[in-house]
Symmetry: C2
Subunit: 103 residues, 2 copies
């Protein structure tokens, strides 16, 4: 698809690592797609039940749990928290849109 395996002057180990990164990115995309399928349905349930789009206590629990998982996996927990917040903000935007449609 691209010329990454024939790029001149790029060490072979770097090309192998890029292949692994591309595989991991494909896995990330598919897990995120599945996650948004779940949060889409959560949004529908919240909109039809009159529950608020955001749930601060749930989000606090999620972030605490993920920071602990990140530490075990040797991933920077501050980065994990920033990333989860980034995803949650997108989810809340979706929930608000669903709520406006339901009103």
């Amino acid at each position: 698809m691209d010329d990454k395996n024939t790029a001149p002057g790029v060490p072979a180990e770097l090309l192998r690592l890029r292949d692994s990164i591309d595989n991991l990115d494909a896995a990330l995309i598919h897990i995120l797609a599945e996650r948004f399928k779940c949060t889409q349905r959560v949004g529908e349930i919240k909109a039809s039940s009159g529950l608020p789009p955001a749930d601060p206590s749930r989000e606090t629990n999620q972030i605490t749990r993920l920071k602990s998982l990140a530490e075990s996996a040797r991933l920077d927990p501050v980065f994990a928290e920033k990333l989860l917040n980034f995803i949650i903000q997108e989810v809340i935007r979706h929930h608000e849109a669903l709520r406006r449609q339901a009103e």
Copy 2:
């Protein structure tokens, strides 16, 4: 660990979806941890080979590929691009730090 399975007034389907989201988030964290292991090694190779921390043509290829994967998986490609940029910025910060150490 938290009270999500006994929360009063929360529909049962929403609780089941939250369990799935928690599982998917754990998968995300572990894939990201593996991805940062790869990019950490990429940073070491770049620093020792004198290659620049960022590689705009590689990043353009990555983003084009991931937007296409996101579309196939019915994930918003604009969100996928924003997320990948967020991750890449973190990786570049790590590479710059490694480069400063190598200098």
